[in-house]
């Protein structure tokens, strides 16, 4: 159970940094600039979209209901190489 969550925690924290911490940082860094608002919105939206996209891909494979259909030669190869 523990090892499974590591990717989730890692990705959430990365995009959380980009989407929550960075805009706050920008708020103080670019105080006078007219583009401050644009940069903040861009950071938040990027983080939200990318995190959601990753989450869908990860959750989709969390509990697979079907498996891949492979040729037996390929299975032999995998069983040798990916020991």
């Amino acid at each position: 159970m523990d090892r499974k969550i590591i990717p989730a925690v890692a990705m959430t924290s990365i995009w959380g940094f980009v989407g929550i911490v960075a805009p706050i940082f920008v708020q103080f860094c670019m105080r006078g600039s007219p583009n401050k608002g644009v940069v903040q919105v861009m950071l938040v939206l990027t983080a939200a979209c990318c995190w959601l996209f990753w989450l869908c891909a990860w959750m989709f494979q969390l509990n697979p209901l079907i498996g891949p259909s492979l040729e037996t030669n390929f299975i032999r190869y995998i069983q040798e190489e990916w020991k």
């Binding site: 007219p34 401050k36 891909a57 959750m59 079907i66």
Partner: protein, 714 residues
């Protein structure tokens, strides 16, 4: 947040301009580019406005410039683009410009007419030369010596017709001329029919095509010579030649006269050639002189015309000898406008300053967005769908990210995305150099204008390429696949393909592939089925997410414009409808992904069928001993399928959701129009009660609210 979040606040200003200073002030305001003038004379006909003469003069100048431009293009002379932006010249200089253009135009026209006449002459002489040469050939074939052509023709005619009357000498006449090659068959046929075969026609092609003086096309022509007997045939032949627009040339009978004429024609042709070349050179020189200046002239004339159009929109106050203009300008630019006005008054040398005066009005101001080079392209994409109303939330701000992101979701290739990113990056880094080398190529300009978008699209495509695990259609294996097949040799020998069972071959301890799709699917035969299911669900989630963002932005609008009616009759039903039906679907997707494992895969609900049944109010209940937990329960005992209810009280919850959503529809459609109508009637009743003439005038000028008009039509 600045004027990218909403459109800029605008104010209506009145400007009082002195007559002398008016032209320069408007020129300065035009260079500033932050002012929109209102037309104060909308009822006045275009021909009755004050500066109509100046505009006609400008039109005339533009016509001359267009003519010169056309002549330059004919000679393939490209106008150099120096990037200069000259200001509009003072009205006095306009007279000088007009004189210059007049001179150049008349010179060009003269040169062109002369050249055309010379070329026509040249054509005639060349044709005559060909005729003489070919007729020489005709008669050389039929014997030599001092036969006159009459004898030759007589021989030829007699020989062709095999006439019995060989002794009688016949008087034969002939005509020679030139006809375009395409008309030759028809010409022959008509001659044959009309003259009943009593004429003799010889045709010979001219090898080199001759240049038509008017159009400049090269036309292939043929020399012909027709022999006939008698006056009537002569007339008929001439008429036919005229009808086919064949040019006839006088050809002398004897051979010596012909050769003398040929020499004379050759000399004349050489002289003409020299004169023609000199005319062309002169024309070229005149055009080369204009080449440097013409771009500046075109810009100057355009600016003069624009200034006079603007001045036409102002009110002319006779008593104070000043012009009154009304314009919209952003509040943040008022300083700049003041500066431009004072600069303009200075330049014109007038002592009376121009006055800028802010006005308050109930009119809706125009929408204006301050954009820099980065946001400009996104703003123009949004404008192509429609321009936002005054002070509405600007969708372009969010488009900066969502547009490239959705493109990347559709594109999703790491390698190609990286190439796209590099291309965009190159264009952005070399921006200054590429902008200065102006290009006429439309496609290149389109790409260059969208360089920021291309860069962002490439960048997001790299990310989605990682998630789809697709680099030039190959997968990367960075973290190790989570599928570990463990089959024995005999089993592998017996079959061709095997479907891995998630219960035994999937690594549940380390979990799914941490970043993106597992690379094993690249080699599998059912990859498409797998990715289809993923992409369909992803599309639903992303689409509903974006719709939710849009509805939330509309809430921001309603709050800003202090419109509680809209919040209750538009926003709340919209959000309830969206969330009850499609938000519920998204929730079901995540629920199924999180809770249904392979142990109860036969129980895994088909969301599509459940969604359809939700609307049809049809529910299949499972057996009584159905355990709603998904664990090692044997599905056969509980009798669950993809279509059976999969959580307790699902049927009641879904009925409630559908009813809630359906209830929103009449709220959205019916409440707001009646409320608006009641408000309007109340206002009218109040006006009637007061019985004041000025009040009713106010009501009549106040417009019926737009929304009521639109809603009541239904």
């Amino acid at each position: 947040m600045g004027s990218v979040f909403r459109s800029a606040e605008m104010s209506l200003c009145q400007i009082f301009l002195q007559s002398e200073a008016a032209y320069t002030c408007v020129s300065e305001l035009g260079e500033l580019g932050l002012v929109q003038f209102k037309d104060l004379n909308p009822d006045v006909n275009a021909f009755q406005r004050k500066f109509v003469n100046e505009i006609l003069r400008c039109d005339e100048m533009e016509r001359k410039l267009r003519y010169i431009d056309k002549e330059l293009k004919k000679d393939d002379m490209k106008i150099p683009d120096t990037g200069e932006n000259p200001k509009a010249p003072a009205p006095k200089e306009m007279v000088d410009l007009e004189a210059t253009f007049e001179k150049i135009e008349s010179e060009l026209r003269e040169v062109n007419t002369n050249a055309e006449a010379l070329r026509r002459n040249y054509l005639e002489l060349s044709e005559l030369k060909e005729v003489l040469k070919k007729t020489q050939n005709f008669f050389a074939e039929h014997g030599e010596g001092h036969h006159t052509i009459v004898d030759d023709a007589q021989n030829a005619l007699v020989h062709d017709e095999m006439a019995t009357t060989s002794a009688t000498a016949v008087q034969l006449g002939f005509v020679a001329g030139v006809i375009p090659r395409e008309k030759v068959p028809a010409f022959e046929r008509l001659l044959w029919f009309a003259c009943r075969g009593n004429v003799f026609l010889r045709i010979d092609e001219i090898a080199k095509p001759l240049e038509d003086p008017v159009t400049g096309d090269a036309i292939f022509k043929c020399v012909f010579i027709i022999f006939f007997q008698g006056e009537q045939l002569k007339l008929r032949v001439r008429k036919i030649c005229e009808g086919f627009r064949a040019t006839l040339y006088p050809c002398p009978e004897s051979s010596q006269e012909r050769s003398e004429m040929l020499n004379g024609v050759s000399t004349r042709l050489e002289d003409l050639n020299t004169v023609l070349h000199q005319t062309e050179d002169h024309r070229h020189r005149v055009l080369a002189n204009c080449l440097k200046e013409i771009r500046n002239w075109i810009i100057k004339v355009k600016k003069i015309k624009a200034i006079y159009h603007t001045l036409n929109m102002c009110n002319f106050d006779v008593s104070h000898n000043s012009l009154i203009a009304e314009c919209w300008t952003p509040v943040s630019a008022l300083e700049n406008v003041q500066q431009a006005l004072s600069h303009g008054t200075e330049l014109s040398g007038s002592t009376v300053p121009s006055i800028l005066h802010r006005m308050h009005t109930k009119e809706t101001p125009p929408t204006f967005f301050h954009t820099n080079k980065f946001t400009k392209v996104f703003q123009s994409i949004v404008h192509s769908y429609g321009i936002a109303s005054y002070q509405e939330v600007n969708p372009a701000l969010y488009t900066i990210i969502t547009f490239p992101f959705l493109f990347a979701v559709m594109f999703g290739d790491l390698g190609h995305g990286f190439i796209m990113f590099l291309f965009g990056l190159w264009m952005v880094v070399m921006e200054k150099k590429l902008m200065s080398s102006k290009s006429d190529n439309e496609i290149w300009n389109m790409f260059f204008g969208g360089r920021y978008i291309i860069m962002l699209m490439g960048l997001f495509s790299v990310y989605t390429g990682f998630i789809y695990n697709d680099a030039f259609s190959k997968s990367l294996n960075m973290f190790g696949s989570s599928w570990h097949p463990n089959y024995s040799e005999p089993l592998l020998d017996s079959v061709e393909t095997l479907v891995l069972d998630p219960e035994y071959e999937f690594d549940n301890v380390t979990g799914p592939y941490p970043f993106g799709l597992d690379p094993i699917w690249q080699a599998s035969k059912n990859k498409i089925t797998f990715t289809n299911s993923f992409k369909m669900k992803l599309s639903v989630i992303l689409g509903i997410g974006q719709m939710l963002l849009g509805v939330m932005l509309s809430l921001v609008n309603h709050i800003y414009f202090r419109n509680p009616l809209n919040i209750f009759t538009e926003f709340i039903p919209e959000i309830v409808f969206l969330l009850c039906l499609f938000g519920y679907l998204v929730g079901l997707i995540f629920f199924k992904w999180a809770t249904f494992t392979v142990h109860c895969s036969t129980c895994a609900p088909s969301l599509l069928i459940h969604f359809i049944n939700m609307f049809l109010f049809s529910y299949t209940m499972p057996n009584d001993n159905f355990n709603y937990q998904c664990d090692h329960t044997n599905p056969k005992l509980t009798g669950c399928k993809a279509t059976t209810v999969f959580y307790r009280y699902q049927n009641y919850a879904q009925i409630a959701l559908v009813l809630g959503a359906v209830l929103c529809i009449p709220i959205m459609l019916c409440i707001k129009p009646f409320v608006l109508r009641a408000r309007h009637n109340r206002k009218i009743r109040r006006a009637d009660n007061l019985q004041a003439v000025s009040q009713s005038a106010l009501i009549h000028h106040e417009e019926y609210p737009e929304e009521v008009k639109q809603i009541l039509i239904f």
